[in-house]
Symmetry: D2
């Protein structure tokens, strides 16, 4: 039976070396982190693997916007499945608004009066959310009415990505690089409120079944599909369930603070998904328990450093 190795640190060691030392531990947190780094590195290297990332939780407003955009730019990501909130915050920044450093111990009544809305310890101004309405309407108006009558979120966001001129926007980078952004619950967000009010004035039907067709088409005949799951929720579930038609994904890593015991899908281990045909094999699966806003940048760098040479 193999035994546990111990991490040896050296001052100048790279993130990749550290990840490899962690993988050698083989157990507990380090073993899982190291395995995730290797699976991610292999995924990035594999030209025949269609790569998806799911985004739930405040990743885009919380400092990871450029990380996600950069991976799309470099063509390491083919598909993104995201909450409406992450799309909202990407568009807000693309329009020139900024997220503000606040505190989690805020007086929310007072914040409201002062025109701020809060996500844990960061704020956004209600002013910027109002400005978003005009921009959303403008972007929607530029889409031919014919197309708006039955559109998938992926088509809508490709249009928005084309219209936004911000090189740090993940929507913009996706449009440029041919990555597809799915937002199955797009209406359930501040941007979504603006879609809804628009739909009451002018024709707009966002049809989630179109998204699903596209998602199945993108994955069905691919040699391999790999998934990076940041947070849980519908983004996690959507990408996995779409892969049941091909017998499941080939590789997946997830980073989450949700726990499995309540039985909710967000915290469920990836192995459980095998029983649903959402995942093929336990070999290339790993859950890293942690905050994705901390863990993912480290993992991504370890994976990028495997691409050299």
């Amino acid at each position: 039976m193999p035994s546990v190795s111990h991490i040896k640190i050296k001052d100048g060691m790279s993130i990749l070396s550290l990840a490899q030392q962690m993988e050698a531990v083989k157990v507990l947190g380090p073993g899982r982190f190291g395995k995730a780094a290797r699976i991610l590195g292999d995924m990035f290297r594999d030209k025949n693997c269609m790569k998806f990332i799911s985004l739930a939780g405040p990743l885009i407003p919380g400092g990871l916007r450029a990380v996600v955009t950069d991976l799309i730019e470099r063509k390491f990501i083919d598909g993104i499945v995201t909450t409406g909130a992450n799309v909202t915050h990407d568009v807000l920044e693309a329009l020139g608004h900024r997220h503000i450093v606040g505190t989690e111990n805020a007086d929310d009544i007072n914040l409201r009066k002062r025109g701020f809305s809060r996500i844990y310890d960061l704020y956004i101004t209600q002013h910027s959310i109002e400005a978003l309405e005009k921009a959303t309407y403008r972007m929607l108006d530029r889409i031919p009415e014919q197309n708006r009558r039955n559109i998938g979120s992926f088509e809508l966001l490709r249009e928005f990505g084309g219209q936004l001129k911000d090189k740090n926007s993940f929507l913009h980078a996706s449009k440029l690089r041919g990555a597809t952004v799915f937002c199955p619950g797009i209406f359930d967000s501040m941007l979504g409120l603006h879609l809804w009010t628009y739909s009451r004035l002018r024709p707009l039907v966002v049809n989630p079944l179109r998204d699903f067709t596209r998602l199945v088409d993108m994955t069905y005949e691919r040699k391999r599909v790999g998934v990076i799951i940041l947070g849980g929720g519908m983004p996690k579930h959507q990408i996995l369930i779409a892969n049941t038609y091909r017998g499941g994904v080939d590789a997946a890593i997830q980073i989450t603070l949700d726990r499995p015991d309540g039985g909710g899908f967000s915290g469920a281990p990836l192995e459980e998904a095998i029983s649903w045909g959402k995942v093929k094999t336990p070999k290339k699966l790993v859950t890293v328990v942690g905050d994705a806003t901390i863990i993912f940048p480290v993992l991504a760098l370890a994976a990028l450093q495997q691409q050299r040479g």
Copy 2:
């Protein structure tokens, strides 16, 4: 400054007495549980309060189906916002299938081979999910094609509720009692897969914007709106964001094991929602940290016991 009281237990004491003893503690878990029981009791008693419950996580397959149905039967619930999974499992049971007692330490490859799919320690047969397809098609066929071309999930589920003849089904009870069931991510479930395949054969467009219109209409002019949040996800967010048009909900309790520090909405305190205009006041808000499948039945009973006399 008020001081902490201590819970005094007596052998035959009722759940309501215990909840009142807990409220008197005023701090930590007991204080929050007791406060939640009182807010829920007040909500149930208030004829001018429109009452919603959000369902995320395995509540329906995990033993709470009859509890939810019972509250709808008694007209304590006007609206339900649920994940597609909870709808799927309600329909499965209404069709006569059963959830099976399993183990969380299962070999998922083996389960898959034997025809079982797993949610933590309970299983459902793949056979029953296949049977669900036929039933779903049959129920959809009975809806006039004209209606199917642009239908909200709440309209679809009202139809299904009418067609299912199981008095323990929360869809059925909702149809009978005039409660409205919203499933904003309905396609993201096993039932949803069947909706999708159907949509490729025959006309079907499930339009989430219709749901949102209905949800805003149901709440906009009501004197008061109260929300019971079990688990997080889109069900939690959808009901709260729809209330921004009326300045927020008046009362809310949530039961969750998700933690706030990652910044995700599922674990966010309800107070944060004040800054977004989703909640009106901090007075009638409380978060109980715990597993909703344990905590909610106890809370519901304490609230029901307040309705006597």
Copy 3:
């Protein structure tokens, strides 16, 4: 294979009926809660079972002091293994001091200035902690010097329990009823600071090895040993490891919010303890995920209601 039952609530139903309904669910939270209620009820009924409770986390200041005391009074508990903090707070209340209702969003610098110390949302005055010093010295002085030169925490706390005249004190009730209170880390608390300063002035050696001898003696030849674990930490470990000499405990329930994945003992499942010889069999073991200050009073009542007739 058995199938999942659903909880049926009735307005006037007792806590015991609810717990039995939950046990019939068999899976997820309700199954575990119901099983815990039954194991606890069996434990209380079993005259040949030596029953221990471990206390970690703010149970005594947080509203459960009278619950613990009451169970000792009724002779349902033979041994208590506790953190020093819970002893400190029991003595503080016995001396007439009260815990104050505060808020978790306090300004701690300001609190310090105003003379308050904080545990989440409850406060204690620094004044009362200073008063504790005099009381501790007085109680120690009454113990013969000879005995103080090599004393176990259980002997010290039996003395204190005898000197405190508060019928709500669990130390006092333990002394009266012959229950033994162990505090393996007694010096690691506010009371412990006073023991330390005393030890620099007058003879005092608190010897943890005496505690361990007593704990082994209390359990070694008993027919059965059952354990109620509230929170983790050293109290949980101490009682389990002492039982390795008799091949492990016969039954155990634990209530905790700690998670297993980090590998720490506090969140570890009880099954793991079988591999260490700390627990005999998996049959009478269950972990309820939750906040013990909420869950335990409900469980205790369900167990008490099984003792009737």
Copy 4:
């Protein structure tokens, strides 16, 4: 008001650069991780700061043994406060035994029969624990009986550290470099069982009050005290409470998966400790939510990379 920056990753970037990018985010996980890296780097650089590390959870068996030892070797750590388990596992490895790679889904009854004991997904043989007994007795016998009659854990472990000849042992490195190892609950561990049986044969009194005296003496007159808290439990509390005599520690970072809401000390924010006089100021405090076995090696490297030049 400052705004959120976004992390920019570059293939070859160092851990320090990444940590600095994270600190610039200023909010959520990255802001906390980045701040922790800076506080730790400052602490390491500060010759007038007495530096402590607390170890709870399976850090030593779980891959971090050489990391801790290395920091002691380089004189970045002056004091260690640890659980008995981490001492036990350090001695086991020093005696030539190895930790074995297992699985968290083990059959514990079977493991027990095969002679393995389990910590999540790693095993140790019961054979090695038996061998530990002889070694412990041998090491104890070499300590003059006079010293054994009233010994602190720090004195005992200095002796053991001198007798163990393993350069990877943190006990050995501590002895060599003059770092002091405290184990306030040493008897509550497998090593502790052997201390207990020894104490029944030959004179041995391990006196925790001696430890506390030494801990207060080590910190009382120091210009600054900084603390690295890995996991919670008594190690976390012991070092903080000992610093109340000097008005609290000057800087502290903690890494934990425990949550604050239950009110337990392990998950409590460091700010709360200000109200107890255990911490001086909120400026140099930060909690990183995560698994210390993953986060600490990364943080330690970022801090080491700040020491150059």
